[in-house]
């Protein structure tokens, strides 16, 4: 997935200090959701997706909200492929973003 094109994201300067922690938590999500998937812990996947959905756009990452919503929906449907796809989308997105603060 993805061809390495960079994605420019503009973030509210007020949030500058919060962003590294926020992005680290999303990297952690990639691992956590992967592990939950192996254990079949749909609830944990649902919660992770739900919280991503709730916070992503607030921090300026609308794509993370969209990915979170997809994972939430897939987890609810116990759709492993859907969750996997969401995690891959997240991992890809995290690698391609270039942040500017304004």
């Amino acid at each position: 997935m993805g061809n390495g094109e960079r994605i420019a994201v503009t973030i509210d300067a007020d949030l500058k200090e919060l962003i590294p922690g926020f992005l680290q938590a999303r990297h952690d999500d990639v691992a956590v959701i992967g592990a939950s998937l192996e254990k079949g812990d749909w609830n944990a996947m649902y919660i992770a997706g739900h919280s991503m959905k709730g916070s992503g756009g607030g921090y300026g990452f609308d794509e993370i909200t969209a990915i979170g919503a997809a994972i939430e929906t897939a987890a609810k449907a116990k759709d492993a492929a859907g969750v996997k796809h969401g995690v891959a989308r997240l991992s890809d997105y995290l690698q391609r973003i270039d942040i500017t603060y304004a």
């Binding site: 007020d14 919060l18 709730g54 607030g58 921090y59």
Partner: protein
Amino acid sequence: MGILIVDDSKESRDLLKTFLKGAGYKDIITAASAQEAFEALGLKGEEHRHGVTFRVILLDVVMPEMNGIEACRIIREDAHLADTPVIMVTAVGEQDSLNQAFEAGATDYITKPVSKVELLARVRSVLRLYQEMERRKVREKELIETLKQLSEANRVLTQLSAQDGLTGLANRRHFDENFSAEWRRAMRDRQPLSVVMADIDHFKLYNDHYGHQGGDDCLRQVAAIIGQVVRRPGDIAARYGGEEFVLVLPDTPLEGGIKIAEEVAAAVRTLKLPHEKSPVVPYVTLSMGVACMVPDRSKEMKELIERADRALYAAKRQGRNRVKAAEDHSGIN
């Protein structure tokens, strides 16, 4: 106090706090659960510390353990927090819960993902509402206080407008207003109404000799005696003019009026207020005329006053220091 943010997600708490701080809001407290929020609000523990208020509470709807709707309901149950604005923070797609939130007393809501512009606009607007409400409460309190003062001032004014400033007895105005009421009442009840006119003997000589200050003192002391004797509810004792007093005695036949007049005269004699220049006795004395009528439509109330006045004149003519009854006391059985 400032703003309370209640959200189980640290990321959400941090985000809200950062946006609010960036807009200049201070004293921002965060709570990770309803229980933590109750603690911050003083709703927990033995000493239910009431009155820990925030200017606004941001409350997440979906939280483990107790959700935001239940928490809102509990916050609203506290009298001190009943008016504190509560803004619910809810994810898109959770709008179903909004009805419940508003039923639980929420003031407003914002959706997650939170937009900074929306957040600040909502907070500003509920704060304005809150301030307006507080201002109105203060104004209401002031208004109630003013009304209280006004009604007290009215009470005092009413009393003052009915009172003779020098003697403290009823004044002429009060007499005029109430005598007609007593007249009509006596007519309705077919009861005798007695009037006593009283005059301090040779008061002009008293004034000339003791000065106006002395004259005023004399009036005050005689008035005090009258006030002590005439004290049945409904009785009126008033200063009628200079040194003249009038008593209105409802449900009182002539004999009763004479008795009251004699009592007043005796009490004044007992005072033994020196009146050196009096040709009668060297003390202050009263001349009094008593009249009584059972009012009916064929009679005029001024007639009763005139009869009492004529009796007073007779008392004076016969040497003062005495009580005389009107001779033509028609209407008395």
